[in-house]
Subunit: 608 residues, 2 copies
């Protein structure tokens, strides 16, 4: 792989090739040029490439061809600019950047704009720097957005690290850092929180793009106040009206098709039916699991989806090529096939039934027919990033007991209620028995013990609570060090022994997701990198993840996506009730509340 | 006038207004929002403004209105983003920046992207700095492009100053410098001239826009080589195919409607008939005389013209608002009406018959019904910029004699042939008589003496030659210190006495344009600022210029634009024959040639 170089460093070579004074390194003959600048297809086109960039696009590049020139006959196939994912989190795939790239490059992706928000919650600026180093080594463009909200909810949780405005300012000067990551603290920005404004200002001063995240259906004053604060895009919009009101106000709507997010259909009608100029619209994934990448693809999947919804393929392509490139200020380097741009392109037989044939990245043939042709060694992360689960002792069953002053009787407990297919939870209460001075779960009513184990500072802190909705039966436990956003260790189960075993297993593997059933490890995805990412290939991660899902089903879990529900139980920015290392959090009031709200002598049923 | 401040410096105030916590300074009620982001008109809209920027755009901004809020009732009029001239030279109007702004602001212009190429030929970087200082004081956005080609033709002429690559690099860091000015040396860039590439590289490293100028109908290898060198726009395209081939390759076509350039009609069909996405297209003026500004307007004139050609007004508006703003990377500040952007807008009754009603610039009501409401004092240029005509002694008739070794006989002279309505000249030859050792002009055949007087260094150098095509009769002379691109003093006339008088008059006035007839100054436009610009208002300049044109007609000149033809006689980059301070220039060969090519004893007729 060759390092990508700035246009001006190779300009004289490009000029020589275009002028016919020097031969090109690569010439692609007779393609149909998918021109996202003019939104048209121009047939009978040759592209000459050298130094990783496009030297010229002409009707006949025979004059650019010398003895050493590699010639690829496109035979009338479409020449499509490399696809771009404008907003996404690599960590969501549980893969490293390298393995993510290995998975998506054969699908035609040649640029991703990644917000390493998860790693920042574990390792802070140092983690972002680690991601930047790996990003810079990739054969495709991996741009980073500097995470803006770490912790997501100051005062309600303690992540592994904090990002300061000063650090944001520093990162703005790093190569490959393209802007500020999603400004999730929308009440903070709209409320003139000093740090949030300082971060936005740092990005603006650096001339970089401010990512947005306005996760509310309210389009009233709070929305307008947020807009006035400076964000330039948003991916939390879900309705047509959301997309339209954002596009009109320069908050570029990013329409998501992630593994779990299906937000394109409801919004693309703003273009296909309402007739808005599509230049403001962008398609992205946000969060994609390894299994989706392996089985369904990446931006090619999003393209097929948009086309199936009635979007003109050229318009859909603009939304994942030139639109994001212009949004992030890199349209002189990528996002279209034009002289001087990186030679990042895809040969495809059809735009309607898009499947990436040959993929050329930085002027090199990188993949063909779904197979990566480049040598892409696995990334060797420094050891310190592989030791992020700091639990000072082996956990035992007794650690998961909820003590109560009285030896017997009942208590009213605050219980997190999981809602099927939804990210918010409900704030339930349950009457639970006390036995031997310990509050008892109520498995018959699906009220199970839940614990959050502090894992960043090795404090040994452990918060116990209760959760309803998983439906586990028998002796089992599920644990995860992916626990948005502060990524402590979460464990839920039917028995304290299994919970201890599950947590200890992850302490041993350096993080991951585990299902323990009847005293045995039934499934395990090891995630040694920050407790968030595997070092293995996407197929392997997908396979192990599938086994976790199966094992959870075997344990009685009937939720569509039980693992994701578990990993969101600590997400203290989404209502109603969450758990953090500081205790239970009532997200409606942004306040801590106790697990036990009332103690009685006699027992009754639990209520919602 | 209030200084324009960066968004991030006023963000918390905008947020407070949008949230309803603080009142706006200005609220515009019930307008039709011309949305160039989505290409639609949204009726019933209020805009709240504070700190010079838009705080929010909402259906009802009553909640932003306090006791001190100025309220403007739009009464259903269109709210149009301020118009933008994306490529232009202020000096072409013979007005200072301040007077240009005074003239165009009431027409709805709130941003210009000016290339101070002319002043740079007189005062170099210092001249650009002077323009930058004036630009920064304006109530509208005046961005500068750093001139790239001074001199235009190294070795063929000596301008007052040179611009180096180092200076280009320096200027890239100045506030308000938006990019590199038009890269006119297209053979140089395509031929890998070191300085040209260094200048482009400086702009690219700074993340700024590289202006182009490819003045050839050839779309072959030279075109492609030029593209590979890095320019991002071009305004020299004149045909539909020029526009299309540029747009497809990311060389944004700028379609000119200047005073003399009428290049929109032939090219806008690429959008209106061929259906290309208009996002790449930009409308501009390039060069406009004061008279055009005063009588016909500025970008409003271009808008009406484009609409008359069948262009959708919303598309034409995109081409002079958001398209240039995105092109120059300032779309977060201007080019659309959206939160955070400068409150630069125009109230208008009609988009089809566009006439600017009220103009709001930086949140202040700046003009209404064609009348400037702001206090805009004339700019006081430092004295040194008002003394640029350095001619060490009074010129006399004898200075304009073309000596010949022989006392009598004939010579063959190389003669510049002016072509009606065209910028190129013809290379003619004429048989001219020699009398008393001096080559005689041939007024009967319209072969008149022409001289270029060096005026920058006070060298006293004077180059004599002959020109055909002006048609002057009687005793007269016309002189100008506007003499593209090196701006020496040019004088043409029927008699040496008048030529001396004309030149001396300009030496006295510090530069300008003068017509001398029968020993009297028949018309004079004083241009004391660099010999290029008047300090007077556009109406005054237009009036004086009109008198020059009339006086030239009175002298027998039948050319449509005789003054412009004179001012281009030294433009050594456009074929075929020109004059410079270094002698006659054969532009086809980029070489100097003598005035007298052959000496004979007997006289004959002149030939082309």
């Amino acid at each position: 792989m060759r390092k990508r170089r700035p246009w001006h460093e190779v300009a004289t070579r490009l000029v020589d090739v275009a002028a016919g004074r020097e031969p090109a390194e690569l010439v692609i003959r007779n393609g149909r040029w998918v021109n996202v600048l003019t939104r048209e297809v121009v047939a009978g086109i040759d592209i000459a490439v050298c130094s990783g960039r496009i030297a010229c696009i002409v009707a006949d590049a025979a004059y650019c061809t010398g003895a050493g020139t590699r010639v690829i006959e496109a035979e009338g196939r479409f020449l499509v600019p490399g696809l771009t994912d404008a907003h996404m989190h690599v960590e969501s795939s549980m893969c490293t950047i390298t393995e993510y790239v290995r998975a998506v490059l054969p699908h035609g992706t040649t640029a991703i704009f990644a917000d390493p928000h998860e790693i920042a919650n574990v390792f802070g600026l140092d983690g972002v720097r680690m991601m930047a180093a790996e990003a810079a080594a990739m054969p495709i463009n991996v741009f980073l957005q500097m995470p803006s909200c770490v912790p997501s909810a100051p005062g309600l949780e303690t992540p592994g690290a904090r990002i300061t405005a000063r650090e944001v300012e520093e990162a703005m000067s790093w190569p490959g850092v393209i802007g500020l990551g999603e400004m999730m603290n929308f009440p903070g920005l709209a409320g003139n929180d000093e740090q949030m404004h300082a971060e936005v200002a740092a990005a603006m001063r650096a001339g970089k793009t401010v990512g947005g995240h306005y996760a509310s259906p309210d389009l009233g004053r709070g929305f307008h106040a947020y807009l006035a604060g400076g964000p330039a895009d948003d991916h939390e919009n879900t309705r047509e009206v959301d997309a339209m009101e954002r596009a009109r106000r320069g908050l570029r709507p990013m329409l998501r098709l992630g593994s779990a997010w299906h937000d394109v259909a409801a919004q693309i009608t703003a273009v296909t039916e309402r007739g808005l100029d599509p230049r403001q619209f962008i398609l992205c994934t946000d969060d994609v699991h390894a299994a989706t990448l392996v089985r369904e693809g990446h931006m090619d999947r999003v393209l097929r989806h948009a086309v199936a919804l009635g979007c003109d393929p050229l318009v859909a392509l603009q939304m994942m090529t030139i639109n994001p490139a212009e949004h992030f200020g890199v349209a002189r380097d990528l996002g279209c096939l034009a002289p001087g741009r990186y030679a990042d392109l895809v040969l495809a037989d059809s735009l309607e039934e898009f499947a990436a044939g040959m993929v050329i990245a930085g002027g090199e043939v990188a993949a063909e027919a779904g197979r990566l042709l480049l040598d892409l060694p696995a990334w060797a992360h420094e050891e310190r990033f592989r030791h992020s689960v700091h639990i000072p002792r082996r956990l035992a069953a007794a650690d998961f007991a909820v003590p109560c002053g009285d030896a017997d009787g009942t208590v009213t407990a605050n219980v997190i209620g999981v809602l099927e297919n939804q990210a918010p939870t409900r704030h339930l209460t349950a009457e639970l028995a006390v036995a031997g001075g310990t509050v008892q779960p109520d498995p018959a009513n699906d009220v199970l013990p839940l614990a959050l184990v502090e894992r960043h500072r090795g404090s040994g802190a452990l918060v116990n609570g209760f959760v309803h909705g998983f439906g586990f039966t028998g002796d089992c436990a599920v644990a995860s060090t992916v626990a948005h956003d502060s990524h402590h260790l979460l464990v839920v189960g039917t028995g304290a022994e299994s919970m201890a075993q599950a947590a200890n297993t992850l302490a041993d593997s350096g993080g991951g997701v585990v299902v323990v059933r009847a005293g045995k490890v039934a499934a395990l995805v090891e995630l040694p990198v920050a407790g968030l990412m595997s070092g293995e290939r996407a197929e392997v991660v997908a396979g192990k993840s599938a086994r976790v899902v199966r094992a959870m089903r075997d344990c009685g879990c009937t939720l569509n996506n039980g693992y994701m529900q578990l990993s969101l139980l600590a997400l203290v920015v989404i209502p109603e009730l969450r758990i953090s290392d500081l205790g239970l959090v009532d997200v409606n009031r942004f306040a801590h509340i106790p697990v036990i709200s009332q103690i009685r002598k006699e027992r009754s049923e639990w209520h919602s």
